[in-house]
């Protein structure tokens, strides 16, 4: 109905338009929304362009050299004639610092996120958050400078004692906690008599002595270690973990907050302690969100350039033995940054294109992990919403 205006004799306050005006309004709306849509699509276009332009410069490398050498050889001599382009050691180096930083940042980040969401009172939390934001805000080159100029000499000169003290401070409390728990488990069951209590004490003391010896000998071994170069995988991993922490903490915290109060209260009501509530109830419910946080944090570490370029030592070999974090390594990002300066002069050669091949590899890794983490977050949201 109402195909045409109802009243031809228009009153001043009539709200029915002429067809003419309706058409004009529709055109204006179409143009306006079209403009907004074009601008909003800009990001998608840019993403496509990035993939296209990095790939188009990466493909000539694979055409010239194939895939085999790049992924399986560790000989990286791009400047030779003819050059060798084995990137395995470099890919390995990227993986090594990424895993190293994850080993530090993930436990620390999750513990901090739990602390922020469940332990600290609101007033304290307000001061903790800016600390995390500041950690995230410090430019990567400043971290790189710290790693190269301040931390590397420290590691080189006092490496052994530093490692030993870190071992005592971190492993010590955990080992003793383990002693208490294990002696509890060993002696539990049956009735609670004085004799049992005495046995428990004896067991605890015995285990404690063993643990102390263990701590002491590992510490002594660490103390004797000589670090030949302060610019190594350990240094980089530590600094990268600082940079990954803010992402892990804030995304995990969001995920922990998303688990409602009801779940926590249900667990407390059954007589669980806070630790038990969090470990057995909250963490499983938030696990997928935390996984997404870990992936996002790792992505920061894998894509970081300046720190690894300045403080990894840039030597393209697989460390001996393979887990030796005190050796220098080289990563994909640092190779791109460092070699482009020379390769740029001879645009078109394999030496130039191999860097784009590395860029493409990074791009694919980041795309896949981003996609995965996004899926995970969406799934968690659906599960929590009860769909």
């Amino acid at each position: 109905m109402a195909e045409a205006p109802l009243n031809s004799s228009k009153k001043p306050d009539a709200f029915v338009m002429t067809p003419e005006k309706l058409r004009r309004q529709r055109i204006a709306k179409f143009l306006g929304e079209g403009f907004l849509l074009v601008v909003a699509s800009f990001v998608a276009i840019v993403v496509l362009f990035i993939f296209y332009f990095v790939a188009i410069d990466a493909i000539p490398f694979f055409q010239q050299r194939g895939f085999g050498e790049f992924f399986t050889s560790t000989s990286w001599y791009p400047a030779d004639e003819p050059g060798e382009f084995g990137a395995l050691a470099i890919i390995y180096g990227s993986g090594m610092v990424t895993i190293g930083s994850a080993l530090i940042a993930v436990p620390l980040g999750i513990a901090a996120a739990i602390c922020l969401s469940d332990v600290l009172p609101f007033a304290v939390r307000q001061y903790a958050k800016p600390v995390i934001e500041m950690l995230a805000a410090i430019p990567s080159v400043a971290y790189g400078f710290f790693a190269l100029v301040i931390f590397a000499p420290l590691l080189q000169n006092y490496g052994g004692p530093l490692l030993m003290w870190t071992w005592w401070l971190i492993a010590g409390p955990f080992v003793f906690l383990a002693v208490i728990v294990v002696s509890d488990l060993v002696t539990s069951g049956g009735e609670d008599t004085d004799a049992r209590k005495t046995i428990r004490w004896i067991v605890t003391v015995v285990f404690g002595m063993i643990a102390l010896l263990f701590l002491y000998y590992v510490g002594k071994t660490l103390n004797a270690i000589q670090i030949l170069s302060g610019t190594n995988a350990l240094n980089v991993s530590l600094i990268l973990s600082f940079m990954a922490l803010p992402t892990i903490v804030s995304v995990s915290e969001d995920s922990l907050q998303a688990v409602g109060r009801e779940l926590r209260e249900g667990s407390y009501a059954l007589g669980a302690t806070r630790a038990e509530t969090i470990v057995k109830t909250v963490l499983p419910a938030a696990s997928s969100g935390i996984l997404a946080a870990v992936i996002l944090g790792i992505m920061r570490a894998i894509g970081e350039t300046m720190v690894v370029w300045m403080a990894s030592g840039n030597s393209s070999h697989i460390p001996e033995p393979w887990f030796n974090y005190l050796d220098s390594i080289r990563t994909l990002t640092a190779t791109i940054a460092g070699d482009m300066g020379e390769a740029d002069q001879v645009t078109g050669s394999a030496r130039y294109h191999v860097l784009f091949a590395m860029g493409l590899l990074l791009l694919i890794i980041s795309f896949v992990s981003n996609f995965v983490s996004e899926r995970i977050v969406v799934r968690q949201r659906k599960i929590l919403a009860g769909e």
Binding site: A40, S140, E304
Partner: protein, 448 residues
């Protein structure tokens, strides 16, 4: 498990959480404090007469008469030193070649260290590089140079299982029995008289250009370059980001296309920064050719793409936080959707949008990887605003890397590096701090 054990576990659990937060705070301090204390040293230090001489001759700073008088004052002692050198040289002449060969080479080394300390010595050629025309400008460097003059550094390789050990041998021993023997104690005693150290507040570190590849002078060119790059990036990214956020929050329908756009946004946020650099090189410079080679424009465009997702996300959040009541009120008064957005929603969301913008500005200022191939040069003059379309520029972030890792005298200009890092961190942290304060004010306002 025993209740006691459970309680201990619970307490330790809390302790681990709090420790991890504390560790993060400690990490922040451990990074920032040395950089602050080192960076202050670039501006506030004990400067020698050489510093004042350089300042007067190169920048025209300082009182001519005072400096003249101080130069004369220090020359009293310097001339005594030069006299000793002259005496020793004539002594060398009088020796037989066999006797003097060893002494000559030792003397040559000592003389080199001395000229590093005091500037060109009488009889030296006028040096071409500016860095050799002046002695040490900073007192702590003068003391180090004195140490180098008094002692020869040797390495002990006797224990092959450990790293070589450093030890020092007095240089005086090489000149035992010659007239130069008195020279070393004299230097040790009268260094301050020759260098006239004074507490110096070198504000010019921020406002002056660098001399001879940052051996002397300030970092203005880098600060300006960073400013151009970051502001340029904002000029492109801010309007685009805000408009895209308006689309996402007010117009986008809940369909596949929108979700593709949204995941494109988070993909872009996750792209490694060095890949942005590659893209900037391949697209803006090699394909579109916005400039012949590196330029501020190409760098700004690359940075703009990098910060775009952050701006979109922050703006979206800010727009979504505007109470729906404002929109309803405006619509009920007969406003169109677009006018409602422009006159009511955007003004209310503006503080939040600006907060996101400020944080992005800080990020653009601090990033290095995207500008390596697109905009940054290691040594360069200050560029004018008209040159941004064609010239590359030095920038704080890039030059920190360059001076610390690639400069031939990286160890001697640590103070400049620290100063640059401090400048960069101050810029970024001040921007972030203002964003945090702004946000606190908004949340207070929203609470009423």
């Amino acid at each position: 498990m025993d209740l006691g054990t459970r309680k201990i576990l619970d307490k330790s659990f809390t302790a681990v959480g709090i420790t991890s937060i504390l560790l993060m705070a400690v990490a922040l301090l451990v990074v920032i404090v040395p950089i602050f204390s080192g960076g202050i040293g670039a501006i506030f230090f004990k400067g020698t007469i050489e510093h004042r001489k350089l300042q007067y001759e190169e920048f025209g700073n300082g009182d001519r008469e005072v400096i003249q008088r101080q130069i004369e004052e220090s020359d009293i002692y310097r001339n005594k030193v030069f006299a000793m050198l002259g005496e020793f040289e004539t002594e060398l002449e009088s020796m037989t070649p066999a006797e003097s060969r060893k002494l000559r080479s030792s003397y040559k080394k000592a003389r080199k260290v001395l000229s590093h300390l005091l500037g060109p010595l009488p009889g030296d050629q006028e040096p071409i590089l500016l860095r050799y025309r002046y002695g040490t400008t900073r007192w702590e460097q003068a003391e180090e140079a004195l140490h180098d003059l008094l002692y020869v550094t040797k390495w002990d390789y006797s224990d092959p299982t450990r790293m070589a050990k450093q030890y020092f041998v007095p240089r005086m021993e090489e000149f035992k029995g010659t007239s130069l023997a008195v020279f070393f104690p004299f230097m040790e005693e009268n260094l301050a008289n020759m260098m006239l150290p004074e507490q110096t507040f070198y504000w010019g570190f921020i406002t002056e250009r660098s001399l001879d590849a940052h051996i002397f002078g300030g970092i203005w060119a880098e600060i300006q370059g960073t400013f151009f790059l970051a502001v340029g990036a904002m000029l492109f990214a801010f309007p685009l980001g805000v408009i895209a956020a308006i689309y996402f929050t007010e117009y986008a329908k809940d369909n596949l296309f929108t979700s593709i756009l949204r995941s494109a946004n988070s993909t872009l946020a996750g792209v490694p920064s060095i890949v942005f650099g590659l893209f900037g090189l391949a697209f803006f410079i090699n394909t579109v050719k916005v400039s012949e080679s590196k330029s501020v424009l190409a760098g700004s465009l690359t940075l703009a793409i990098m910060i775009l997702p952050t701006i979109i996300r922050a703006s979206e959040e800010a727009i979504l936080a505007v109470p729906k009541a404002y929109k309803e009120a405006s619509m009920s008064l007969g406003s169109t959707k677009w006018r409602t957005i422009v006159t009511v929603i955007l003004p209310a969301a503006l503080p939040g949008i600006i907060t996101g913008g400020i944080i992005s500005l800080g990020r653009a200022a601090g990033e290095t990887a995207p500008i390596i191939f697109t905009a940054a040069v290691s040594v360069g003059a200050t560029i004018g605003i008209a040159d941004v379309f064609s010239s590359p520029t030095p920038a704080l972030s890039w030059n920190i890397y360059n001076l610390a890792s690639e400069h031939e005298a990286a160890n001697e200009i640590r103070h400049v590096q620290y100063g640059m890092v401090l400048a960069l961190i101050s810029i970024v942290l001040l921007l972030n701090l203002s964003a945090i304060l702004l946000r606190a004010r908004i949340s207070k306002k929203l609470k009423g």
